[in-house]
Symmetry: C2
Subunit: 253 residues, 2 copies
DNA sequence: TAGTGGTCTAGACCACCAT
DNA sequence: TGGTGGTCTAGACCACTAG
């Protein structure tokens, strides 16, 4: 193993303006991220205290704090004053806050129910392979489901995940509503962030049937690519949504 | 005037758990925000150095730094190492980064051209009054325009702003493409953040004509409410977009 | 009461920029 | 060369939680 323990200071030795210089707190963060990706600390568990981490990594508490601050801002950690710093869990509250942007026009956010239509092992087609950055034909698990908002079918959803990250997922007997929680607890894959591309499209015959509307009805298409803590693309998801009484909420800061 | 100069420490005197306790750095930030809203420092100008601000506010440099850090994270300030801290300008780069989320499917971000259709003084209808939190019938300026992406008409846009914030805007001879820059330079109103609600809708006859498509074509409706530095709703904007070769990019972090 | 994170301070040194 | 922001350290004290 190369750099597993304490941080080797690069600052003092590197030439001024040298490439590859990184602040200590980023090096500290990198080590913590690595441990997070390796599952050294499980979701919901407390990390060691700040002074402990500091002496462990060989830096001052203030430096560790800055690393933890960034990871907290990225929703990877949760700090609770007087209790400790915890690995963020993919509970419904977090998913509603970070990933699920559909809100009723009245302003209510609720976690959607799911009705599973299909779950099978397959091979990545060109589109999925390109998005997930895996070879075409590589094994994947494919999920098709309808999601209910306030008891009405409003979202038709396809999900493709790499078989290498989620072995056996396609043959599970049951699939929970909250997939990100499953990814983390059963496969050790923590979704850290995602990018979404939105378009307006017309409903095809399948959406018309499943979402109880007519062909050509305008739907919001959400094409999401979700990334694990280490940056690996871990899930591709395409959601077609009726937005008659709901909208996608976006904050521009 | 109550608290204009130095910060009155609340921490030591307030009872433990007392309501209304705020950290020093937030009080410092509040004062800086107020000065920003009052136009004490103009967009593009440099703020005083950190030690200067610290002695000015009567706190330590580290405390000022934390306030500046937050304001930088909110895109209100820009720090340039070795040069100083500057008030963020609404140049095209910032708007593309912070507010304009339409991207070509190839991944290119470009600032859209505008073709003005209408500019007039009007009275706020119920919808505009509700969104802008002004009385119904209050004077507003209304703008209607078409925006071009890669030389093709792709967005049909209505904009309503309160007449009280932008006196005389409706009778301007010319209207620049970049409105936020105009708001800041001509009226001292800096847009700090916005919320958007997205829906898929069908094109009406007017959109069909303006956007060179047929009625019923699916369009992405973006309903944006933009807020000034002090939190006042300053602009309501409804954009209907063809997303055939473009998409709305959203980052979930 | 002990332990945690949160705030605040003070100062040293580094990296970057303008001159 | 001088001034700026960026990083790093060390320590004091406050606020919150648990036992």
């Amino acid at each position: 193993m190369a750099e597993e323990g304490k941080i080797r200071r690069e600052a003092a030795t590197a030439a001024p303006g040298a490439l590859g210089y990184r602040p200590l707190y980023r090096q500290a963060k990198e080590i913590l991220l690595k441990r997070l990706a390796e599952g050294v600390w499980q979701p919901g568990q407390a990390l060691p205290s700040e002074p402990e981490l500091a002496s462990d990594l060989g830096v001052s508490p203030g430096t560790v704090r800055k690393a933890l601050d960034e990871m907290t801002a990225e929703n990877l950690l949760v700090r609770r004053q007087g209790r400790g710093t915890f690995v963020a869990r993919h509970d419904e509250a977090r998913i509603l806050f970070q990933f699920f942007k559909l809100v009723s026009d009245a302003g209510e956010r609720r976690f959607p129910e799911s009705r599973l239509l299909r779950l099978e092992a397959a091979k990545a087609d060109a589109a999925a392979a390109g998005r997930l950055r895996i070879p075409q034909g590589a094994p994947v698990a494919a999920i098709e489901r309808v999601r209910l908002l306030e008891d009405c079918p409003r979202v038709h959803e396809w999900i493709v995940v790499p078989g290498s990250l989620f072995p056996g997922l396609a043959s599970r007997a049951d699939l929970p509503n909250n997939l990100y929680e499953l990814y983390a607890s059963a496969y050790g894959v923590t979704i850290a962030r995602a990018t979404e591309r939105l378009k307006a499209v017309a409903a095809g015959p399948r959406q018309a049937e499943l979402l109880e509307t007519e062909r050509g009805h305008p739907l919001l298409a959400i094409d999401r690519l979700a990334f694990a803590v280490d940056g690996t693309p871990a899930e591709w998801r395409l959601s077609l949504c009726r937005t008659d009484a709901f909208h996608y909420a976006s904050e521009l800061r």
